[in-house]
């Protein structure tokens, strides 16, 4: 297989969100797309108890040369795809640097401490400013809202993958996406996912 050049090698990407948002699926879909391009992929993710409303993170290491550790070293994320806004900041604290870029879904999921009134969820305006301050580039899209229009908020994760394709850092082909998503998924669902992917692409181009 032909090796494809990457924006950086290894390319370090974090997909983050809250348990139940489809973080793991997003990381596997993207990983498989990269694997189909002949790239070495390592994914590290949080499973189990952390899924129960906790913050979740998948680390993707994409390289044309070798396999890397399933945990990205501190400060070395090139891209953060965030399904939830405050998770963006949490990941930036540990894995961000001045060159890090971010695609952020703007739909908040309130931590239980915010629901109970013990903690404060910052305003979206503040969050945007802070995220911009900590990144080289930040795209904000309302993927959940678009996903609800598509019929199910769970499509938010695929929409973010579509948006990532729009950035152009990685050799992401729609045909690879279709091939990956078609494995073990009924046809109508594949269609809906393709639509979500395309909508994500459109959303990021519109930013």
């Amino acid at each position: 297989m032909e090796k494809t050049p990457l924006a950086s090698d290894p390319y370090n990407l974090v997909i983050t969100g809250v348990g139940g948002q489809g973080n793991v699926m997003a990381s596997r879909v993207l990983g498989n797309m990269m694997s189909r391009k002949g790239l070495n992929v390592t994914i590290g993710e949080t499973f189990g108890a952390s899924q129960r409303g906790g913050s979740v993170m998948s680390h993707l290491r994409i390289s044309s040369e070798t396999s890397w550790s399933p945990q990205i070293p501190k400060g070395k994320a090139h891209m953060i795809v965030a399904l939830e806004p405050i998770e963006t900041v949490r990941v930036l604290r540990d894995y961000g640097g001045p060159e890090t870029r971010v695609i952020c879904n703007t739909r908040p999921i309130h931590p239980v401490g915010v629901i109970s009134g013990d903690q404060v969820y910052p305003s979206l305006e503040e969050l945007r400013n802070w995220i911009k301050e900590l990144t080289a580039t930040a795209w904000f899209i309302d993927a959940t809202d678009a996903a609800v229009r598509l019929g199910d908020p769970i499509f938010g994760n695929i929409m973010m993958i579509g948006a990532l394709a729009g950035v152009g850092d990685l050799p992401m082909d729609r045909s690879d996406f279709e091939a990956v998503i078609s494995q073990g998924m009924p046809k109508p669902k594949v269609e809906a996912n393709l639509k979500a992917y395309d909508m994500g692409l459109e959303l990021i181009e519109a930013v």
Binding site: R28, A49, G53, S55, G97, S116, Y121, W130
Partner: protein, 645 residues
């Protein structure tokens, strides 16, 4: 159809470590696999169970890890290759059998895969199980990446069959639950026949009965097997050295720590100063190989997770070899260069190496790190673990908590292992007061329930899930009934092993492969041993609470309340709302006397939001699963449920 069970030789796929392990077992021609679910090990049996629909293979979720070991051992005794899988705690459960099995020996290749959880990412402890290999004197292998995870399993079967001993293979969360590229080997056709030979003499390992007697003889045999394993380890390709011939610092490592070490060396750019010895055969260590490798440097850093198992074993060998290779300076957990608890990562290894080599390293500019830290402190409120929206456990613990308060005798609940362990936190209203091993809640309750003669009059409760009930609660419950212990066991029956992803268990009408199986009725079992049994739907709060109060006050001896409601994440329930929920904002009392935000301040289902501006509760339609329970707790009837047509 799973591609994992197709031949596809030489093709490369992105596999989760657990899938790679399963593929390795398939490539080794495994016939039987048994295990008990536990993060991070569960996907191995799941993958094989799926493959069993395509290939000649028997896979089961056993009732517990000890039985799983026995089921797998039986296959081995009958000449088949078999695999046994569990998380670290499971090895403790099976360890009694393990010791005997090491003595009796095996026939068909028998491999025990145990997945440790350094840092306890999904465990109640970070205990590890490598030391069992040393304790019972059997070989231990540790894969260092995804390809090895597959290949090493195949090799482990061959080794086991050659030396007629169980072989342990240890994975960790960051391998089992991480993914990487794996190139497939050939899948053999399985034409194995099962037959248990037992007509030979006691001392005949191939034809005689399989027992660990006579002990001294069998023990000697066992040690001989280990010597054979060490011979194979000396030139194993799983032990790899990379780096200069005589580095300033030699890192000795295994498992995922090998990837962290590699990353640290790369980031620091010290490839010409640091050597990396990745060991795949970590017990017993091969002395000839070690003599050659340890001679390379005077400084040795051992990188591993949880207890300093490798470090101690290396030190012993190096001490023995001192006359030949001289005295070494060791770095690692013992002297504190690496943390003694928690999991490692590239940065921790990087810190250790830069300290030893006196290199300055900054992951990002200081100003950036400072600012990001400041912003995260205000912008990223922490996320406590909570029960999912619509989780039956929230309703169950609401009732249990409330009736214990109403009862007013300072009663308490002994917890157990499952999602419901979270009930020690505010999401379960802090209801659980003990949490130990599988089944320990009921065992502890059985003991507490006998302390009445010492003046203890607190009501004693225990909880367990349906899978846990069969795993280890049953013996404790029998104990409690037999000894007339005064306890109430609440079985939180959500029809699945929910915590680990809905694996089957003996209470369900399906097996691991999804085929029909006889289910064992929990209430029938409890009744038959003489407990007073009631069954309620935990979503019916009033019914549950009055039943529980009655059991606590009116009945003596062992009482069992089964709270039956399917897990909100179960495939049959997911994204199906029972009710459409809405809030009548005119009747919502909000922060006023008479409510003070009971739903968002105390009940705290994530499907509820506190509207700070409007001072009323709201429903988050994206998150709400429509279970309807919050309508029952609202004191003013402001939460309205409407049945979904």
């Amino acid at each position: 159809m799973s591609y994992l069970a197709d031949d596809r030789k030489n093709e490369t796929y992105l596999l989760m470590g657990n899938e790679a392990i399963a593929r390795g077992a398939l490539e080794a021609g495994v016939s039987v696999a048994a295990g008990y679910p536990g993060t991070p090990s569960s996907e191995i049996i799941e993958t094989l169970a799926e493959a069993s629909n395509q290939r000649k293979l028997y896979v089961e979720w056993s009732v517990n890890e000890k039985v799983a070991m026995e089921v797998a051992a039986a296959a081995s005794f009958a000449g088949l290759r078999s695999l046994c899988v569990m998380k670290q705690n499971g090895v403790n459960v099976g360890s009694d059998f393990l010791l005997h099995l090491a003595g009796s020996g095996t026939r068909g290749g028998l491999v025990l895969v145990h997945c440790d959880d350094p840092g306890a990412l999904s465990s109640a402890n970070e205990g590890e199980s490598r030391h069992f290999a040393r304790l019972v004197e059997i070989p231990l292998l540790e894969p260092g990446d995804f390809q090895e995870a597959k290949d090493m399993i195949k090799w482990a079967f061959a080794l086991s069959e050659e030396i007629k001993s169980l072989v342990m293979v240890r994975s960790v969360t960051r391998l089992s639950h991480a993914s990487g590229n794996v190139t497939f080997g050939q899948l053999p056709e399985n034409d194995s026949k099962a037959y248990f030979r037992h007509g030979g003499t006691f001392l005949d390992p191939l034809e005689g009965p399989l027992i660990s007697l006579p002990v001294a003889y069998k023990h000697g045999q066992q040690q001989e097997k280990l010597r054979q394993a060490v011979d194979r380890f000396e030139d194993s390709s799983f032990n790899i050295y990379s780096g200069p011939e005589f580095p300033e610092l030699l890192i000795v490592t295994s498992s995922a720590c090998h990837l962290y070490s590699k990353e640290a060396i790369n980031l620091l750019g010290v490839e010409d100063r640091v050597g990396l010895l990745k060991l795949g055969t970590t017990w017993p260590l091969p002395p000839k190989l070690m003599r050659k490798q340890m001679g390379r440097s005077d400084k040795i850093l051992v990188v591993e997770e949880v207890i300093p198992f490798l470090e101690e074993n290396v030190k012993i060998l190096v001490a023995e070899l001192a006359p030949e290779i001289g005295i070494k300076t060791f770095f690692g957990k013992k002297e504190g260069t690496l943390p003694k608890v928690g999991e490692l990562n590239p940065d921790l290894v990087l810190d250790a190496v830069s300290k030893i080599l006196q290199i300055d390293y900054e992951p990002a500019p200081q100003a950036y790190i400072k600012r990001a830290g400041e912003l995260a402190a205000v912008a990223a409120p922490g996320r406590d673990l909570i029960f999912c929206p619509g989780c039956p456990h929230r309703a169950s613990f609401w009732s249990i908590h409330n009736i214990l308060q109403m009862d007013g005798r300072d009663g308490f609940v002994c917890g157990d292992i499952g999602c419901y362990s979270l009930a020690m936190l505010p999401t379960g209203f802090g209801t659980l007061k003990t949490l130990h091993a599988m089944g320990s809640g009921t065992g502890l309750a059985s003991g507490f329930g006998k302390l009445g003669r010492f003046g203890m009059d607190q009501p004693v409760l225990a909880v367990c899930g349906d899978s846990t009930f069969f795993h280890a609660v049953l013996p404790a419950l029998v104990n409690a009934v037999h000894h007339k212990s005064n306890i109430t066991l609440v079985v939180l029956d959500n029809s699945g092993t929910a915590m680990t992803g809905f694996q089957s268990h003996p209470g369900l009408p399906v097996d691991a492969a999804g085929k029909e199986a006889p289910s064992i009725d929990i209430s029938g079992v409890c009744e038959s041993i003489g407990a007073t049994v009631k069954v309620c739907d935990p979503f019916k709060l009033e019914d549950t609470q009055s039943t529980l109060l009655n059991l606590l006050e009116k009945e003596t001896g062992v009482k069992v309340l089964i709270l039956r409601q399917i897990c909100a994440l179960s495939p049959e329930k997911k994204s199906k709302k029972m009710y459409d929920m809405k809030i009548d904002e005119t009747t919502c009392l909000g922060e006023n006397c008479g409510c003070n935000r009971l739903c968002t301040r105390i009940f705290k289902c994530p499907g509820l939001i506190w509207g700070k501006e409007e001072k009323v509760a709201k429903i988050d339609d994206v998150i709400c699963t429509g279970c309807g329970v919050c309508a029952s707790i609202c004191p003013s009837g402001a939460i309205i449920k409407k049945e979904v047509a």
